[in-house]
């Protein structure tokens, strides 16, 4: 199993998949596909942790993989889908800049990350490629958060960024202690619930979750 993973560079394939799901966010037009992309991203992340767990053979990594799958892969997407249904959002996401241009900018972001992390800070951990990709995912999700208007897309951008940060930390340290990971995942879950409720309230108060209209005070 170990030899098989190394021979077919499974870690690289999964990392590339994680990068791809982040890049494709730029091409999507509907909030449902954003949620789908996040689900796939989380499943890939859980898969990556499981693969590393097999490589290293530590029990707490298996637990981390299962927890990631349960919260990020199943619970949060379910909750997001519920909010999307409840808010009855207009499905089109109107970005500030067009799809093609934002795709191109994401490509450039990835290039910048690859070039600047070519050598240097990578000291320990299992894969320099995973580190590069995680930073690229963080930057792309930041870019998504800057350029999209709807409150929910920003929440998903934040979730993507968290996945990127998780991958970055994981690729450098082989995973944090289980207690810390548990706490982080619980925080995330709470954060998403609060942000979700918040988005619903914005929608109720302003009749729209479009952040352009939040410039006016409302008593």
């Amino acid at each position: 199993m170990k030899n098989w993973i190394e021979a077919f560079s499974v870690i690289d394939y999964i990392s590339i998949g994680i990068l791809l799901t982040a890049v494709t966010l730029n091409a999507f037009k509907s909030i449902e596909s954003y949620v789908k992309a996040y689900t796939i991203n989380s499943w890939l992340l859980a898969g990556l942790i499981a693969v590393v767990a097999v490589l290293v053979g530590e029990t707490h990594l298996y637990i981390a993989a299962l927890l990631t799958l349960a919260t990020k892969g199943i619970l949060i997407p379910l909750f997001l889908r519920r909010i999307v249904r409840r808010m009855r959002v207009t499905h089109e996401i109107q970005p500030y800049i067009g799809n093609s241009l934002s795709l191109a900018i994401s490509g450039i972001l990835v290039a910048v990350v690859y070039a600047s992390l070519k050598d240097g800070i990578f000291v320990t951990g299992f894969s320099r490629n995973a580190l590069q990709i995680s930073i690229a995912v963080i930057l792309i999700s930041l870019f998504i958060m800057i350029t999209r208007k709807k409150a929910l897309t920003l929440v998903i951008g934040l979730l993507f960024m968290e996945n990127g940060l998780f991958l970055a930390g994981f690729s450098l340290t082989f995973g944090m202690p289980t207690m810390i990971e548990l706490g982080m995942l619980f925080d995330m879950l709470m954060g998403v619930i609060i942000l979700g409720i918040f988005a619903v309230q914005i929608k109720r108060a302003f009749a729209s979750a479009d952040l352009d209209q939040l410039t006016v005070l409302k008593g």
Partner: protein, 305 residues
């Protein structure tokens, strides 16, 4: 013997199209025409008289021959079942792309030549798509070329059989989009109809009839099979006759047939499950594929030394 492998592409390319049509029909619950139907169509067209508009110039008459010759020349370069062909030294991936560009250029001119609305429409659309597809195809091919250390197709096919990595997966997906756009298949163009205002390839060749149309259609089939062959050569080159450690030619032919059936199934699946998109949404799809190709090149240079 290895020098005549291009005949496989030329003779069997209508069959591949027939198989795709048949598979599509069965996926959509229809019976569909037999797999040999493209041959009957070509024979019928070759026997028929031609109607050529009096306002056309020599370009209209020269184009079918140029298109057919360019695609046959492309078929000569591509290794089909064997990497021992002596034609391979005459061309590489860049030459191949430009042979297709030559054919496309003359096809677009011929579309404009007859002066009909549909022809000009088809030509302008084809050129718009080409602008987006060509660089993407080049980037995808360059990923393979860099990892093989050569733009020669035989060299790529020889080296690639032991060399598959994440960047090649990205390049392959970009290349599949390029194939769909180049062969005028569903998300980009609809190959089954002449009656829509949305046609691209069919619009350009609308004025052709008889022998000329047969040459254009056959050229299109050959181009399609060359692209399929290129895809399997670069990304799945296992099971070819090679100078050292290859398989026998019969086995190679069998494996090649399997790969072509695989490509046909993939194309039929994509065509049956996707709807044609509006023309103005194409830049978005092709742009995503371009970013894929760009990322593949980047990943290859930066991550896989």
């Amino acid at each position: 013997m290895h020098n005549f492998q291009f005949l496989i592409i030329i003779l069997f390319s209508p069959l591949v199209n027939g198989v795709i049509k048949k598979l599509k029909a069965s996926m959509q619950g229809r019976v569909g025409p037999g797999v040999l139907q493209p041959y009957y169509d070509l024979l019928r067209l070759l026997k028929k008289d031609m109607v050529v508009s009096t306002v056309t110039s020599w370009i209209f008459k020269a184009t079918p021959y140029i298109v057919f010759a360019a695609t046959v020349a492309a078929a000569l370069i591509v290794p089909v079942v064997s990497t021992l062909s002596s034609f391979s030294i005459t061309g590489d991936v860049i030459a191949l792309i430009y042979l297709f560009a030559l054919a496309r250029f003359f096809m677009a001119l011929a579309g404009l030549d007859a002066g009909t609305g549909f022809g000009g429409e088809g030509s302008s659309r084809e050129m718009t798509v080409a602008i987006l597809v060509e660089p993407m195809m080049m980037l995808a091919l360059f990923t393979a070329a860099i990892s093989a250390g050569s733009t020669n197709l035989v060299r790529i096919a020889t080296v690639q059989s032991v060399n598959f990595s994440p960047s090649h997966l990205l390049a392959l997906s970009a290349f599949l989009v390029a194939i769909i756009a180049e062969t005028g298949r569903v998300p980009v163009d609809n190959p089954d109809t002449h009656l829509e205002l949305t046609m691209i390839h069919e619009g350009m060749i609308l004025e052709y009839s008889g022998r000329y149309l047969a040459l254009m259609e056959w050229g299109h089939y050959i181009k399609q099979m060359v692209l399929f062959t290129l895809a399997v050569d670069i990304f799945f080159p296992g099971g070819m006759v090679q100078a050292s450690g290859g398989v026998t030619i019969v086995a190679a032919a069998g494996i090649y047939a399997l790969k072509m059936v695989g490509m046909a199934v993939l194309m039929a699946l994509i065509e049956s499950t996707r709807a044609k998109v509006r023309f103005f949404q194409l830049p978005s799809i092709l742009g995503s594929a371009f970013v894929l190709a760009f990322l593949s090149l980047l990943t290859h240079i930066m991550m896989e030394k």
